[in-house]
């Protein structure tokens, strides 16, 4: 716990209404979207300005108090899990959009601005903010920057880092620095590029310059039903091989379709593998490409191909897709969400291997994935009430990640490493790779107080902190947000 003198300093920095120390209130902050990890922080501060963040970080630096910055707490890898007895810096009150520059296609926002609010602000001028994690109605830009968030449309539009031109950051020593600029290629190292995706381990974001993108003229969404995810996967390869770059290419297998249908009645065809293709761009181009996509689907044995006929129908298609995780609760008492990436061509063999591994373990695995970029979200279904099944499920989910790495992929495409995959990072990268990353960490945070004990492997894990299965986030249970 924090000594009273430190609490007093924090109160002086953010005011009495910006400080939380009561245990019941602190419990709100004890976890993020990875709810099976819970640690009570020593205090939570709710600064209203960069100067207040700076004051808090200076106090932390002076007393070597670990701090964890936090947006909406929707992260799925435990990145916002507090440090025991440390300070949580909630950026929720720094939620202003500071500048909108349509002519130069950027906006400047505070970190607590909600992702979807950026698009809402620039939509009247025909623009949008491209990264669209499924939690976008509640997750914040600061959290997106920390995690380098993606979404279904990053195949074409890229990730948070693609759209981040610059940052204002409070470094772990309390200094404020500007990284990047609204203009490209500012002289010096690309520290913006390094900071985005560093999961809160390099400092606290207090301002973000984001690129915005003109809305495409036309968006078309096609659904194709196949006998198996393999046939859907082959179709994806053929679409890419034909030189197309759709804005989204998503696959769901039979289990995922069943769950999504049960949850939101998306009117999906009943099939073994459902492919969702979204094309956008100038109308003449999209129409021509869509007929090519139809032909490729037919060639690969699609039983049914249909294009959403209205915005409402398209929204429903996406609603089903985005609800797929949460929908698992309808077909299984418990489940674990994973987030691996493989080269697209490895899709058929990896899917077969996951099937084999699941059968051998006596478990079911539902598959939902961003097929265009090889980002798998296997959902390992199990029943905690059956003795030993949770351990089996956990083991299977980690073996799936190893399978991804063995196939030349990654342990995370968008959820981050956080607390959950610290050890898996050591499976993906060798010692020299990790030591080199630590050079950056040490340059930014020599005292190791910014979100310590995350991302990088530990020498050992305490029994109480072994990564675990998925339990729904309160926001999800309440139907406010979906997870990806």
């Amino acid at each position: 716990m924090l000594p009273q003198s430190h609490i007093d300093e924090l109160r002086a920095a953010v005011g009495a209404d910006g400080l939380i120390t009561g245990e019941s209130q602190l419990q709100t902050y004890e976890c993020d979207g990875l709810t099976n990890f819970r640690i009570l922080p020593g205090a939570v501060v709710l600064p209203r300005s960069a100067a207040q963040v700076q004051a808090v970080v200076r106090i932390c630096a002076r007393h070597k108090i670990p701090f964890v910055s936090r947006g909406a707490g929707t992260g799925l890898s435990g990145g916002a899990l507090p440090a025991a007895g440390g300070v949580v810096i909630s950026l929720a009150r720094m939620n202003r959009i500071l500048e909108v520059d349509i002519a130069n296609r950027y906006v400047v926002v505070e970190p607590g601005v909600i992702n979807a609010h950026v698009t809402a602000r620039v939509a009247p001028q025909g623009y949008f903010y491209a990264p669209d994690p499924s939690s976008q109605s509640v997750c914040t830009i600061g959290g997106n920057v920390a995690e380098n968030s993606g979404g279904a449309h990053c195949l074409k539009y890229g990730f948070t880092v693609t759209h981040t031109l610059g940052l204002e950051v409070v470094l772990p020593n309390g200094e404020i620095v500007q990284l990047g600029s609204p203009t490209l290629d500012a002289p010096g190292y690309d520290l913006t590029g390094v900071f985005v995706g560093s999961e809160g381990t390099l400092g606290v974001t207090t301002k973000v310059i984001l690129r915005i993108v003109k809305r495409p003229e036309v968006v078309q969404t096609l659904l194709a039903a196949f006998n198996s995810p393999h046939a859907a996967g082959q179709t994806v390869s053929d679409i890419i091989a034909a030189g197309m770059l759709p804005s989204a290419l998503e696959i769901m297998d039979a289990l995922a379709i069943e769950a999504a249908e049960a949850a939101v009645h998306a009117n999906y065809p009943v099939c073994g593998g459902l492919l969702l293709v979204e094309l956008d761009g100038p109308s003449s181009e999209v129409e021509a490409l869509m007929s090519e996509v139809r032909a490729i689907c037919s060639k690969n044995g699609a039983q049914q191909v249909r294009v959403a006929q209205s915005d409402q129908e398209r929204a429903l298609v996406w609603k089903g897709r985005k609800a797929a995780f949460a929908a698992m609760g309808r077909i299984s008492p418990n489940y674990i969400v994973q987030d691996g990436v493989i080269p697209r061509t490895a899709l058929p063999s990896v899917l077969s291997e996951i099937d084999r591994m699941a059968s051998a373990a006596g478990l079911r695995v539902a598959n939902v994935f961003h097929a265009g970029d090889g980002n798998l979200h296997p959902l390992v279904l199990y029943d905690r009430a059956i003795a030993g099944q949770e351990e089996l499920a956990l083991d299977l989910s980690y073996r799936i990640l190893h399978l991804c790495v063995d196939n030349g992929g990654s342990i995370t495409g968008e959820h981050g490493v956080g607390k959950e995959k610290q050890e898996a990072l050591g499976y993906m990268f060798s010692e020299p790779d990790l030591a080199t990353m630590q050079l950056v960490r040490c340059a930014f945070d020599p005292e190791n107080i910014a979100n310590p004990d995350k991302v990088f492997p530990r020498t050992r894990l305490c029994a109480a902190e072994i990564p675990g299965p998925y339990t729904p986030h309160p926001l999800e249970t309440a139907g406010i947000a979906e997870i990806f």
Partner: protein, 413 residues
């Protein structure tokens, strides 16, 4: 060769020959050139250099060797033997290429499967992947496809102490660990030697057309450019070319052949009274041509895209009353290359003027090429970032003995 340990050129050459082979190490004056064949040899060479306080300059074909501050003579680490496209899993639309491979030879191989790294750097026939990445060069295609930071998905680097590290991976979507490849991109070889780069690929632009509009004053393009960038059209490149008395705006669109006429109609509507004609692909060589005359001072300016035409026009008006001449190209992304035909002693004044003009809107100006006679008194980089101390600390952690390109980068890093 400068070495605080008394290490001589001959001793150095002998040791490096022992690593890379007699035929791949040579002495020219104070410089020892060595051409290793793999990352392991580079690690050995760097350990020798690091232990003897000899500076190392990674070297491709030297097309941008004069960029940045000069480096004391030491070891020239040539990547010329590491020049192959290692992997091209074309169905995954990624590739792994060695740093010494020239841009054009890489693209030629990728083109066999109708793919490309979507970037148009300077001197593709000679410039190498490593040099292009180290200097973060990019051309007009950046408008549609982004810059190197958006195209590089992984890298292998060797640090000054010989550590061989991989960063990122071979998949496009990956958020595991820090993106060290973004730190390395544009770091001018001051943090490590890039030995391999993994790129994400795009389909090659099989059908593309260019249109050009001309007008005397660059300011006349301000409104058409603003409108064009605000439409839902998706040009792959837009560039302004301007000289003392004339200017032109080039637009390149890659789409399906049947869509070109409609695109042309839309463009004509945007340009209104300004005549727009079908143009040739060669106009996209304009940036490179600015470097052709060796006596020109070359500046790289970064500005807001809404300022591209007005700043160009200001230069036109300003030089109209001056003795000197200039030519520039500016991409719609706001990156401008200016070639000045100017007396050496007048260059610093103009550089300062341009810097103060652009500073208010977050812009910057780097002097890419300047006459040796004025170099000493000039700030090549013009970096006034308040993160400079942090950049120095990163350099100190990566290269504590200042072995790699010491002094070449911003703030004398």
């Amino acid at each position: 060769m400068t070495s605080t340990t008394g290490f001589t050129v001959q001793e150095c050459a002998a040791q490096l020959a022992g690593i890379a082979g007699e035929t791949h190490s040579e002495v020219a004056g104070e410089i020892v050139t060595v051409a290793p064949v793999d990352a392991a040899q580079i690690a050995q060479i760097l350990r020798v250099a690091d232990a003897n306080a000899v500076s190392v300059t990674p070297f491709g074909n030297g097309t941008k060797a004069g960029w940045g501050n000069p480096v004391a003579p030491g070891i020239r680490l040539s990547l010329k033997r590491m020049n192959s496209l290692r992997e091209h899993p074309w169905q995954d639309m990624t590739c792994t290429v060695e740093a010494g491979c020239t841009w054009a030879s890489m693209q030629a191989e990728l083109a066999q499967h109708g793919q490309m790294v979507a970037l148009d750097p300077l001197w593709p026939a000679r410039a190498t992947v490593g040099g292009i990445v180290a200097t973060n060069d990019s051309g007009a295609m950046r408008l549609k496809y982004g810059g190197l930071r958006d195209l590089i998905i992984g890298m292998t680097i060797v640090l000054a102490d010989g550590t061989i590290a991989k960063t990122g991976g071979k998949v496009v979507k990956n958020v595991a660990g820090y993106d060290l490849h973004k730190l390395m991109t544009g770091s001018f070889g001051t943090l490590g030697v890039i030995t391999e780069v993994n790129f994400r690929l795009h389909p090659a632009e099989t059908a593309a057309r260019t249109w050009t509009a001309t007008a005397p004053d660059a300011l006349q393009f301000a409104e058409p450019l603003r409108i064009l960038l605000d439409t839902q059209m998706t040009p792959s490149s837009i560039q302004l070319r301007a000289g003392k008395l004339q200017s032109a705006l080039d637009v390149r669109i890659a789409t399906r052949p049947e869509a070109f006429d409609e695109q042309a109609t839309r463009l004509r509507r945007i340009f209104g009274q300004i005549e727009l004609r079908d143009s040739v692909n060669e106009v996209w060589q304009a940036r490179q041509q600015l470097f052709d005359q060796a006596d020109r001072v070359i500046l790289k300016a970064s500005l807001r895209s809404s300022d591209v035409c007005s700043v160009s026009s200001e230069l036109q008006h300003w030089t109209a009353k001056q003795e000197f001449d200039f030519d520039l190209t500016a991409q719609a992304t706001g990156l401008m290359t200016v070639a000045l035909n100017i007396q050496a002693d007048a260059a610093p004044g103009l550089l300062d003027q341009l810097r103060s003009r652009l500073k208010a809107s977050g812009g910057s100006v780097i002097a890419l090429r300047i006459p040796e006679s004025i170099r000493a008194g000039l700030d090549v980089w013009g970096c006034d970032s308040n993160a400079l101390a942090l950049m120095r600390e990163i350099k100190r952690r990566f290269d504590p003995n200042r072995t790699l390109n010491p002094g070449r980068f911003v703030g004398n890093i």
